[in-house]
Amino acid sequence: MKYSYYPGCTLKNKAKDLDAYARASAKALGFELEEIENWQCCGGVYPLGSDEIATKLSSVRALNEAKEKGQDLVTLCSACHHVIKRVNDDMKNVDDIRFRANNYLKLDTPYAGETKVVHFLELLRDTIGFDELKKRVVNPLTGKKIGAYYGCLLLRPSGILAFDDPENPKIIEDFIRAIGATPVIYPYRNECCGGYISLKEKDMAKNMCDKITESASGFGADMLITACPLCMYNLNKSAEKDLPVYYFTELLAEALGVKEEA
């Protein structure tokens, strides 16, 4: 099975691992991620103003390219997923944005939200299935106690992201079980890490990440996993230095026995 793939700016730079382990794992699981040509940065955060058009066009170009190839669009970075999924919802459901974006882009056929946007974790859950993934694991991470860190971008707003229950998600916990480890449920797993606030207000982000890591440690987690490079960065600046943070794809590649190939 072939999918269009949107890596995003950070996965080409500071988060190369997140990307490389995903590609190696995809290969091991028998699906192909075909990187979209000439993709442009999604902008990192969704433009909230209802009159914002230009800031949404890079997402529309990626969505349309996947549409023209007849493929679903796979995302990996939480921020890219959030932005592209929300812009796709605008293109499908908001007449004014669809009209103005298409006027600007002058595509051969107007784009109206046809592409399905799928996060890599959703692909594991909905297409491969966690039961099947479990069977493919050659190196189960038995005994590891892992806290899933969801953050905000994958879950909210739940009406549009439709990723999982926004207050009591379980997709990453199910993933942790599938790779043979033990999930640790802790209360701050869907609270914000501070996001972009850490550029100018480092203390504010640090306080928030301290709450998250103290909560996870207190409930017995040995490590956290995330899909977001910015969550990773902020969490690593937290005071709780004994709690390592990994990209979920690294543990996936390890469990599938393909870590060295990444």
Partner: protein, 129 residues
């Protein structure tokens, strides 16, 4: 239309929010992770727009403390979206000449070697035009 009325109308347009839907339950402020840092609190954003006092709102430090984490949006029982109101107020500021909260000149001293590109593009989009 008076300036105050015009500003309030602009916030309503940009945000797409109808402030009159709010029933003042305060859940947005209770759930906001940046609450302690804010001078005007999330449940008050709505009143500033309804009372056409956007002049005060755009001067608020809260514009630069909001994380766009959507906790207030997700948990509002009336679907009012306070996070979109504060973004609209922020837009009124950064769309004006000289209104940027972040300039390119500031970036070099804020950088560290682990900083993901995602942080810079996100901050740029929220803080400047």
């Amino acid at each position: 239309m008076s300036h105050a009325k015009n500003q309030a109308e602009r916030v309503r347009e940009i945000s797409g929010v109808n402030p009159l839907k709010c029933m003042k339950c305060g859940k947005c402020s209770a759930t906001c992770p940046a609450f302690n840092e804010m001078d005007i609190k999330p449940h008050q954003f709505v009143s500033y727009v309804a009372n056409e006092n956007v002049e005060e709102l755009v001067k608020s430090e809260s514009l630069w403390k909001c994380l766009s984490c959507f906790a207030c949006v997700e948990r509002c029982p009336r679907d009012v979206k306070p996070g979109k109101i504060i973004d609209a107020a922020r837009q009124l500021v950064v769309r004006e000449r000289g209104g940027n909260y972040l300039t390119a000149d500031e970036i070099p001293e804020l950088l560290d070697e682990d900083m993901p590109q995602q942080l810079l593009v996100s901050a740029y989009r929220r803080y400047k035009r």
